[in-house]
């Protein structure tokens, strides 16, 4: 079988269920692939891993991939399993913030490590400064939990629909206690989990073929996972995911983002992402050639 190494963006969890399901259900085997799934972690940059030759494909957000491309690591999106963004900003209803207009002068929790671009793009759009002054907002770099909200260190925090939002609920908040700003709903979303590989390698027909098979099997995995969320969650737990109940919740939420599991990239979202990055000077020149539909076209007929 052909070996493929996949580097995830984060730890083993239902966010990556499609790949684990494809592996567990033998979809990769059926395509003649031997896939090695490497979990990520905080401060593991998949872009670095692939540049160092440690992976063939990575799961990444478009923002990170474009930034890396700007620095000479020619990443190309070959499939986009997540159609919608899972990121949102939540604020307790009994807090000071009810609408966008209330942000001024308050503290907002934001993830960094590449996840801050949608936030800055949004603030840019509504004309708020982010330097902590009185007519802007104070940004707090949030760690990977919801403590700043519980501790009241921030008035709003960033959550993923499929993950931290669940933790907020676990912590005793009910959905009606919360004000939610969803990036997708506001039309501010940037592309999240996609599959990326190196442009050079893709020129090799054998490799391209391998990727076609890989994407096909992976999307089959995603399809299966979205249809059998509980089973998928269990597969993830077997692969090392923590907290079964939480994985089940996550799987259900992730299923909503994956949509119809065709893995096709939506050019409008790509354009929006690229523009936001250029506006924020994350990339120095207009992005081009950072995605190809050739793979998905061949994989999913």
């Amino acid at each position: 079988a052909d070996k493929v190494t996949l580097q995830l963006k984060w730890v083993t969890q239902a966010q990556f269920a499609g790949y684990y399901v494809a592996k567990a259900k033998g979809f990769y085997d059926a395509e003649g692939l031997d896939v090695d799934i490497k979990p990520g972690g905080p401060d593991i940059a998949p872009e670095q891993v692939i540049a160092g030759g440690g992976a063939d494909v990575i799961v990444d957000w478009m923002g990170g991939a474009l930034a890396a491309r700007d620095k000479g690591v020619m990443l190309v999106n070959i499939a986009q399993p997540f159609k919608k963004a899972g990121m949102e900003l939540v604020c307790p209803k009994n807090g000071p913030i009810k609408t966008e207009a209330d942000f001024k002068g308050h503290t907002l929790g934001v993830w960094f490590f590449g996840n801050e671009y949608p936030f800055y793009a949004w603030m840019n759009k509504i004309g708020l400064k982010t330097d902590g002054g009185p007519d802007g907002v104070t940004v707090l770099k949030q760690s990977f939990d919801v403590q700043p909200l519980i501790q009241k260190q921030a008035d709003c925090i960033s959550v993923m629909t499929y993950n931290e939002y669940g933790q907020v609920l676990d912590a005793g908040y009910k959905p009606e206690d919360l004000v939610v700003f969803n990036y997708s709903a506001m039309g501010n979303d940037l592309l999240e989990d996609g599959l990326y590989t190196l442009e050079d390698k893709l020129k090799d027909p054998a490799f391209e073929d391998k990727m076609v098979r890989f994407v096909r099997a992976s999307m089959k995995g995603w399809k299966y996972a979205t249809e059998n969320t509980d089973e998928a969650a269990e597969i993830v737990v077997d692969a090392g995911g923590q907290d079964e109940n939480h994985q089940k919740f996550m799987m259900k939420e992730v299923a909503k983002l994956v949509d119809n599991a065709d893995g096709k990239l939506i050019p409008a979202a790509y354009e929006r992402t690229a523009k936001a990055l250029l506006d924020q000077k994350i990339i120095s020149k207009e992005a081009s050639g950072a995605y190809t539909t050739a793979i998905t076209d061949k994989a999913i007929k």
């Binding site: 940059a45 890396a68 620095k71 690591v73 490590f113 996840n115 260190q153």
Partner: protein, 384 residues
């Protein structure tokens, strides 16, 4: 042959030069040009190749003569650095195309520089100005070579920028980002590190004294103190953010926890280090616990205490920076490092690391100077 005095570095360097010459092309474009002599291809080191090899050979050969060490060191210094400079300069625009001779010549230059440093450190100048200058020059050459090799290898081998940028790019980034670096240093070092360092060391010291004074506490506190030793930053930092907020106090708290244990252990060991006869002497004066501590046991413990202060000077920095990975305002060295990694601005990451290294070295240097002044009597300072 007593006018010859070859060093193994020089001999090896000559050998490397000859091998490099025999192997021919330095870079892929040159190899291509040689393969197709008809085409006039531009390739690096068109004229400089002979110059580089020549420089190295001459420096190496001259150094085998029986010269005074100073002259020999100067010849080697000039030869090695000029060659290195030509090598690094020549690869510009042709990154990632270097072949074996490139690395061989680099190694040859490095060997000569090594011999140069060895010569310099064997000098024992009488003037204090010369001595101090040497004390600076030697580590500087050593450090320069770390940078030269780093630059030459990353560029010669074409290591992806986002894995390891060359030092020249890092330098440029430092020069362009002074205000940001400045505010990060202020946040991380002047607030979190310094305060945490002082409090942490004092805490470790105080607990050690307490444990020493009260036998009951000694038996109870020390095992528990040991447990604190491994509270990993990653586990503790989020908790500290929970307790002390996301600004610098939580980082200082992490630094306190990190510096506490080395100080505790070293002070306890140091307090046991005074001699028996000296302790008996204090007993004959019916000296109480505190005078004995102040006049005998603490001075005798100083070498150990400074040990801890030195180790902690670097630990404190690591602690504060890493703690900032977990929830911070949007300023600070750790914040910058973790976010710029995400943005693939690895040069900025290294710029922060360079600043951290510089600050840490200065910090350590100051502690070491104070140590020399305080433990002037210890054999390790008097010269052993």
């Amino acid at each position: 042959m007593n006018w010859l005095k070859p060093s193994w570095q020089a001999v090896l360097a000559i050998l490397l030069c000859l091998i490099a010459f025999a192997l021919g092309a330095m870079t892929k474009p040159e190899a291509a040009a040689l393969a197709e002599p008809a085409a006039t291809l531009a390739y690096p080191y068109m004229g400089a190749k002979g110059l580089i090899i020549g420089l190295l050979l001459i420096a190496a050969l001259v150094s085998t003569l029986r010269l005074t060490p100073v002259v020999e060191a100067i010849v080697l210094f000039v030869g090695a650095h000029a060659a290195a400079w030509l090598l690094v300069k020549g690869i510009a625009g042709f990154e990632g195309t270097a072949l074996a001779p490139y690395f061989l010549l680099l190694a040859a230059a490095w060997l000569l520089a090594w011999h140069c440093v060895a010569l310099l450190s064997s000098l024992r100048p009488s003037g204090s100005v010369a001595r101090n200058a040497l004390r600076l020059i030697i580590p500087a050459i050593f450090g320069t070579w770390i940078l030269i090799i780093w630059e030459a290898v990353t560029r010669g081998a074409g290591i992806p920028f986002i894995l390891l940028p060359p030092p020249s790019a890092i330098g440029a980034r430092i020069a362009n980002s002074l205000p940001i670096l400045g505010s990060d240093v202020r946040q991380t070092i002047f607030k979190a590190v310094l305060i945490g360092y002082v409090v942490g060391n004092l805490a470790g010291f105080t607990v050690a004294i307490l444990a020493d004074r009260v036998p009951f506490l000694r038996r109870g506190l020390l095992p528990i103190g040991n447990m604190v030793s491994a509270l990993p930053i990653i586990g503790v930092a989020p908790i500290m953010v929970m307790w002390f907020g996301f600004d610098w106090p939580s980082k200082a708290a992490v630094v306190i926890i990190m510096t506490f244990f080395p100080m505790l252990v070293n002070t306890v060991a140091g307090l046991a280090a005074s001699g028996h006869m000296e302790r008996d002497l204090m007993r004959t004066y019916a000296s109480g616990y505190w005078p004995t501590l102040l006049k005998l046991r603490l001075p005798a413990a100083m070498p150990f205490i400074f040990n801890a202060l030195k180790i902690n000077s670097t630990l404190a920095l690591i602690g504060a920076i890493v703690a900032e990975f977990f929830g911070t305002p949007v300023v600070g060295m750790g914040f910058r490092i973790s976010t710029e990694v995400g943005r693939m601005n690895i040069d900025m990451v290294w710029a922060e690391i360079a600043v951290a290294a510089l600050a840490g070295s200065v910090f350590y240097g100051v502690v070491a100077l104070v140590e020399r002044a305080v433990t002037f009597w210890h054999p390790s300072v008097r010269g052993g």
